[in-house]
């Protein structure tokens, strides 16, 4: 058991890997995303939904009121980007948590018990894995309609699979280890063994898989919104802003540049952070 009070030297040994440029960049981007998401109303200079056709398509004015310009109906771009961060973060966090809980639970049960249970769960997994990336999400939104909950469900529909594969493999390797066998022979039930002995050992790998799942969730949400299949269009999203920008590409480059840059920098940061975490915590995981 890790004690909560760490001396500074052991803290450096544990978390020093987070002080490399790659990791710092990733952590900065992630913090910025969280801050924008949590404090959007305080940070945004304008109401993101306020339309003003007299002030439509103003080019970025450094120092002016509309620092990053306005869109085709006069909404302030910077404010919409900040509120867009909120949607990206909310959806990505929900997808990562739900698919993580579902995938790890299923994977641990599959790997720990093996046999019949394992083959049924693996067949179930195979069905969801059969769909090409994003297609199942597109189909779910196409049939069930657009809503925050449905988009989260759609994006989580395949995201749980990497968690499931990873935790199955780990549980299989752990179930015959001495400390598990010892716990069993001391009379611990399966549930207790799973919770106290298997799960804690899977956490580092879950963190790695979760980081990449977050990147995938953010880009998939943006893609769905771009296709007009994301959350309802009244909510500002980076993908939705890019879809709007398509029609005004010849006159208003800023409408296309900034939302895309937000998605790109966010993904780059999370991917770099994921790479650092993977190298440190679990070099085995590659493309699950």
């Amino acid at each position: 058991m890790a004690s909560l009070t760490l001396s500074s030297s052991s803290a450096r040994a544990r978390f020093g890997f987070l002080l490399t440029p790659k990791a710092l960049f990733g952590l900065t981007v992630l913090s910025a995303l969280v801050i924008c998401g949590l404090f959007a109303p305080l940070l945004a200079p304008f109401d993101p939904a306020k339309q003003d056709l007299m002030r439509a398509m103003i080019a970025p004015q450094p120092g002016g009121p509309h620092v990053l310009g306005t869109d085709h109906v006069g909404r302030d771009l910077l404010s919409r980007l900040i509120y867009g961060a909120r949607v990206s973060l909310l959806i990505a966090a929900a997808v990562v948590l739900f698919s993580g809980a579902f995938g790890v639970a299923l994977g641990v049960v599959s790997g720990y018990f093996g046999g019949r249970t394992d083959s049924v769960i693996q067949k179930f997994l195979e069905v969801f894995w059969a769909f090409p990336p994003l297609l199942l999400a597109i189909a779910i939104v196409a049939f069930l309609g657009q809503g925050l909950g449905i988009v989260i469900l759609a994006l989580a529909s395949q995201r749980w699979i990497p968690y499931c594969r990873m935790s199955r493999a780990e549980a299989m390797a752990l179930r015959d280890r001495e400390f598990v066998v010892a716990a069993r022979s001391l009379g611990a039930g399966h549930l207790r063994v799973l919770w106290h002995h298997i799960l804690p050992n899977i956490l580092p790998s879950t963190l790695v898989v979760g980081t990449f799942a977050m990147a995938t969730a953010i880009i998939s949400e943006a893609a769905l919104s771009f296709l007009g299949l994301g959350v309802p269009p009244t909510i500002p999203t980076w993908g939705g802003m890019l879809a709007d920008a398509r029609s005004y590409i010849s006159t208003s480059w800023w409408m296309a540049l900034f939302p895309g840059l937000c998605i790109f920098v966010t993904l780059l940061g999370i991917n770099l952070l994921g790479d650092v975490l993977r190298a440190r915590l679990d070099p085995k995981i590659r493309n699950l």
């Binding site: 067949k123 195979e126 069905v127 059969a130 769909f131 090409p132 990336p133 994003l134 297609l135 597109i138 189909a139 779910i140 196409a142 049939f143 069930l144 309609g145 990147a215 880009i219 943006a222 893609a223 771009f226 296709l227 007009g228 299949l229 993908g239 890019l242 920008a245 398509r246 590409i249 010849s250 480059w253 296309a256 540049l257 939302p259 895309g260 998605i263 790109f264 993904l267 780059l268 991917n271 770099l272 790479d275 590659r286 493309n287």
Partner: protein, 334 residues
């Protein structure tokens, strides 16, 4: 090998069956009455009932599903609500456009990604390796719809160099033989048409191939590094072989297996990744057909396309597995 192939083929059937059940259940769960998409809201109750009967929508859901499966097994994926044409015919008409785009994207990704990966691995931590690593991370982090829009802005908008949408200019008058415009142009000796087809392909293919290029580069590099650390490399060097021979003839040949695998898997993913790229560039493939189908709530078209996409994807992955087991017989033993 034959036994393994047959076993894998039969393993795919229940999966595809369950996939169809899942997609059909989703359609049944959709809010609203599909008949209202067939007929105007002002139609009389009798007309509505007649339309429902004609399209088999009056049957209970399980019967509708069984009918659907029976027809699908005969290659009939139903009739589009909007086009009033068989879904299969619509798909076959547009499939070559998607495949041509995916093939060119793959070609680009392979031609850039593999050399970059090999050369980065040959000199780890060199300037070239850093460039390669940056390109790799940019490739996987770049949203392809944004890259597409920015390329349109620069190459169509500012420079007026490349067309921003479609596969060919209006009235090019090229006869369709294979549906692959580049191939059709060559077959008919229409060099002007070939140039036009390539000009239209350029941006969509680059955009679609970028993330694949990043992935291929990273896999090539990792696999090369692994092989370069093996004893046989030291033996080859000790024999006095040149660095280039060791790199390409020895290490690269062994790294090729994983490179081919990832290329195949990514090609399957590209076909659905093309949905977004086709939307950006108004490329008349099956991806654009799907998005238009969703806009019009054309349920038979959506169901048919989702199942055709998934079948293609599953078969592609199966082929890769089989090819892999041909190269590495240990896999068949499992």
């Amino acid at each position: 090998m034959l036994g393994y192939t047959v076993r894998r083929l039969f393993g795919v059937i229940p999966v595809l069956f369950l996939v169809s059940l899942l997609v059909f259940a989703l359609m049944q769960a959709a809010p609203g009455d599909p008949v209202s998409m067939l007929i105007s809201d002002e139609a009389s109750a009798e007309d509505r009932a007649r339309a429902a009967e004609a399209w088999g929508l009056d049957q209970p859901a399980p019967v509708q599903y069984l009918n659907f499966v029976r027809n699908a097994l005969n290659g009939d994926f139903g009739t589009s609500f909007r086009y009033r044409e068989p879904v299969m015919a619509l798909v076959l008409d547009r499939l070559p456009a998607t495949l041509e785009l995916a093939l060119f994207a793959t070609l680009l990704a392979v031609l850039v990604g593999i050399p970059l990966g090999v050369l980065s691995a040959a000199r780890p931590n060199s300037v070239l390796d850093s460039i390669g690593s940056v390109v790799g991370f940019f490739g996987i982090s770049m949203p392809n719809f944004w890259l597409g829009i920015m390329m349109i802005l620069v190459f169509s908008g500012y420079m007026n160099l490349l067309p921003s949408s479609g596969r060919e200019p209006w009235g090019m008058g090229l006869d369709r033989v294979t549906g692959f415009l580049t191939l059709d142009a060559v077959l008919q000796g229409r060099w002007d048409a070939l140039a036009q087809a390539l000009r239209h392909l350029a941006m969509p293919a680059i955009v679609l191939g970028t993330s694949m290029m990043g992935i291929i580069m990273q896999v090539t590099r990792a696999s090369m590094l692994e092989n370069l650390g093996e004893d046989y490399i030291m033996t080859a060097r000790a024999k006095g072989l040149s660095g280039r021979t060791v790199l390409w003839r020895h290490a690269f040949r062994n790294a090729l297996v994983s490179v081919i695998t990832i290329t195949g898997l990514e090609f399957g993913a590209l076909i659905s990744g093309a949905i977004i790229v086709e939307t950006v560039f108004s490329w008349p493939g099956i991806g654009l057909l799907l998005i238009q189908g969703i806009t019009f709530r054309d349920f038979p078209l959506i169901v048919g396309l989702v199942l055709i996409y998934t079948s293609l994807f599953v078969l592609m992955n199966l082929l890769i597995d089989l090819a892999y087991s041909l190269v590495d017989p240990r896999i068949r033993m499992r």
